[in-house]
């Protein structure tokens, strides 16, 4: 009896308390998901209309676990965005509707601007006025940047006629609250997910489901085995760069490049994989970005859902490449600064955006002035890769450093004190760390066709093989896990 009471208390406690480490990669989520998934399969088979409501309810529970009471932002945004978009479409075409669009976008953006940029604005005012107040740090609802951008894309797509205005509130709420996308995207367009919400789900492609399982395994390997492990050393470097040798700092910067890719693409794999298990097909968010030979290509491969969002809803409305070369450069530059600020209200993210803006402008400038005439041989490719990877890695210093002083200390230390003698010491002290980073980079260099072949082999493998691989990866994740799971980097944006 006492055990039943204790079990009930633990269960109620679990259901009613916020969990700051809640994400797709925790065991508690996996256990909850299994219960959810079992009921989902049953409902989908016999009571299909209830499925939507059930998924929305679980998504809201997921949001509550991650956000606590701040999760209320999500249903409020969903209802207001849906209603305002409908209202906008009832307005007379032309100037009036255009004004309506501006008002709806502003309304959708307001919570994001308030939660994300109030502190930043107050700090700037504080600097300008030399006042002696210190603003209280505001809590940022997890995933607000992602669901806000989804809401805006829906409104704009409906306005432009790219997507019909007929979506029902339940379908729209499903789209905006869909739990795999909630914490860190990928930012999914209405045209991708909404048509699938209304489609009967009796005959789900088994290939899609097993691809989902494959992606979940890939996501766990990237996040739990690689990113979390190498983060331990990277955190030490970025906390106190002066403590390490120049070579140690250099390794920390290289490690962060690998960490952020594995962390974020790992999360995307998990999100797309979980959605695929449920029968929803989402677009890829990463396409081996560190294989890029220039910065433009990098942005076609890195965080694809964000870069295409900025392309469609900022770069093209600003004029894109239709208003001459100079305007194209300016638009690219502005889009990257906004992308930097989207990541966080800090001058460090602005600096990161500026660096990428400059890089894109320089690449476009060179491309317009004879870069394409250079022969496309192996040596040129190798140099291009080194330049691109080196530049992207350099920019990550500003992305990761808490302030400019840390970034400059880190760079000064690397430039002034790096010596090969430290390499030996480092190798002796962190052999496993180096092996993990090198293996990750090697795996990243896999050809697209080879990756598809591997995925195909897994999808068609016998059930027992899949079971063995899943069990092995999960156990390795447990064996490699640290005292606490590192939060996904992109959940803070």
């Amino acid at each position: 009896m006492a055990k039943i009471t204790q079990l009930t208390t633990t269960l109620l406690d679990f259901l009613s308390t916020q969990d700051k480490s809640w994400s797709l990669c925790t065991l508690s989520f996996m256990a909850s998901f299994l219960v959810f998934f079992a009921i989902y399969i049953g409902l989908n088979r016999y009571r299909q209309p209830w499925t939507k409501a059930y998924v929305i309810a679980f998504s809201l529970f997921f949001a509550y676990k991650a956000n606590g009471i701040l999760m209320l932002m999500l249903p409020i945004t969903a209802i207001s965005s849906w209603y305002l978009t409908r209202f906008m479409m009832r307005l007379k075409r032309g100037k009036i509707r255009r004004s309506g669009l501006a008002i709806v976008i502003l309304a959708e953006l307001t919570p994001l601007l308030y939660y994300k940029y109030t502190d930043f604005t107050l700090e700037i005012l504080h600097e300008i006025l030399h006042s002696n107040f210190s603003p209280e740090k505001m809590l940022l609802p997890v995933g607000i940047s992602f669901f806000t951008f989804q809401a805006i894309s829906y409104t704009v797509d409906v306005y432009k006629g790219r997507y019909p205005k007929t979506a029902e509130l339940t379908d729209y709420a499903f789209y905006l609250t869909f739990f795999p996308l909630l914490i860190a995207g990928p930012i999914t367009r209405a045209e991708v997910l909404l048509p699938q919400v209304g489609r009967p789900r009796e005959d789900i492609d088994s290939g899609l489901v097993y691809k989902g399982l494959w992606l979940i395994i890939c996501g766990m390997v990237k996040k739990a085995l690689i990113a979390d492990y190498i983060a331990q050393y990277n955190n030490i470097v970025f906390d106190a760069p002066a403590v390490q040798s120049g070579f140690g700092d250099l390794m920390g910067v290289l490690g962060f490049s690998v960490q952020i890719y594995c962390d974020f693409s790992g999360y995307s794999d998990l999100a797309i994989g979980v959605a695929a298990l449920m029968g929803y097909e989402l677009k890829d968010n990463f396409n081996f970005p560190y294989q890029s030979l220039n910065l433009t290509e990098f942005w076609h491969r890195w965080h694809i859902s964000l870069s295409t969002w900025f392309r469609d809803y900022l770069y093209i409305p600003l004029g894109g490449n239709r208003r001459g070369a100079l305007r194209t450069y300016l638009n690219s530059f502005l889009a990257m600064i906004v992308a930097g600020l989207w990541h966080g209200a800090s001058w460090m993210f602005v600096a990161w955006g500026v660096l990428h803006g400059i890089g894109l402008v320089v690449h476009k400038l060179c491309k317009n002035n004879g870069l394409d005439r250079i022969p496309d041989n192996t040596a040129v490719k190798a140099i291009s890769w080194c330049l691109t990877f080196g530049y992207v890695t350099f920019a990550w210093i500003f992305f990761r450093s808490p302030d400019m002083a840390t970034a400059t200390t880190l760079m000064t230390n690397i430039l002034q004190t790096t010596s090969l003698s430290d390499a030996y010491t480092f190798l002796m002290e962190y052999p496993l760390w180096i092996i993990v980073v090198l293996i990750s980079l090697e795996l990243h260099s896999i050809r697209g066709n080879d990756y598809s072949w591997l995925q195909d082999r897994f999808v068609h493998a016998p059930w027992l093989v899949k079971l063995g691989i899943f069990a092995l990866v999960l156990q390795l994740a447990i064996n490699f896990s640290q005292h606490s799971i590192q939060p996904f980097i992109y959940t803070q944006f």
């Binding site: 633990t10 508690s28 256990a31 399969i41 009796e202 789900i204 403590v243 059930w463 079971l467 899943f470």
Partner: protein
């Protein structure tokens, strides 16, 4: 649908196996490699702990304290940084560095009582154990640690554990077990760059060590949180007493 059911069963089977493995007492090893268990008990305790924490009142952060920082030669680097913290957070810092000292030196003499009577500290920081990383008489060391805690007579304190460079024979665990929850800062996971003697951390590494310890001391994890906001400039720790290795302690 069949694929979904198969996948559900697959995931459930793996998760069940992991839970069963966590519950059974046996541990599977493959050569030197142990298959780790998930800690179910820790998870449920965590929930209860979280609930308790919510009910418990927030601990008061201490301001304007008289801090006594004692210990072995490791205190030299730490107190240099602690001086910055003390000056910018309104604390008065007294430092006593007894070179080559150990828990035995402080636990079997009246040196600590002497400095407590002299400076009347309201908070004590201790960094001891670096000279005992490879000792085998752990039972005696446990008694010395308990003696030191007794000598403090209720004054709030934090013990900054030695930062080992090549493991230890158990002194860290001994200290942790005998000082009580929230009074032990674990330095074992820190990788500190060492100076030319390959033993003491460089100034920068010691500052990083103190910064990390300060985060713990000022947090709610600490039994008696002390206000230690990160300092912006350097301030010299002037009230420092140096005791040579030959010093035998106050009897």
């Amino acid at each position: 649908m069949r694929a979904q059911i198969k996948t559900l069963l697959l995931m459930a089977a793996v998760l069940a196996a992991i839970v069963v493995y966590a519950v059974i007492p046996a541990e599977i090893t493959l050569g030197s490699y142990t298959i780790r268990k998930i800690t179910l008990a820790r998870l449920s305790r965590l929930h209860i702990e979280q609930t308790r924490q919510k009910r418990r009142a927030v601990k008061k952060t201490r301001r304007n304290q008289t801090v006594l920082f004692i210990g072995d030669s490791m205190v030299e680097g730490l107190s240099r940084r602690m001086g910055d913290y003390a000056s910018e957070n309104g604390h008065r810092l007294y430092t006593v560095i007894w070179y080559s000292s150990s828990t035995e030196s402080w636990g079997t003499t009246h040196t600590l009582e002497h400095y407590i009577a002299r400076y009347r500290p309201t908070y004590v920081l201790i960094c001891l154990g670096s000279n005992e990383l490879f000792v085998n008489d752990l039972a005696s060391r446990a008694q010395y640690v308990r003696n030191i805690v007794k000598k403090l007579d209720g004054i709030p304190f934090v013990w900054i554990s030695p930062s080992d460079w090549n493991g230890d024979t158990g002194i860290n665990d001994v200290i942790q077990e005998n000082v009580g929850t929230g009074r032990f800062f674990d330095s074992r996971n820190l990788k500190l760059r060492r100076g030319s003697d390959h033993y003491h951390p460089t100034w920068a590494a010691a500052a990083y060590w103190m910064d990390t310890a300060a985060r713990f001391i000022s947090s709610q994890q600490c039994a008696a949180p002390l206000q230690l906001n990160r300092p912006n400039t350097h301030h010299k720790a002037t009230r420092t007493k140096l005791l040579q290795p030959s010093f035998e302690g106050f009897k």
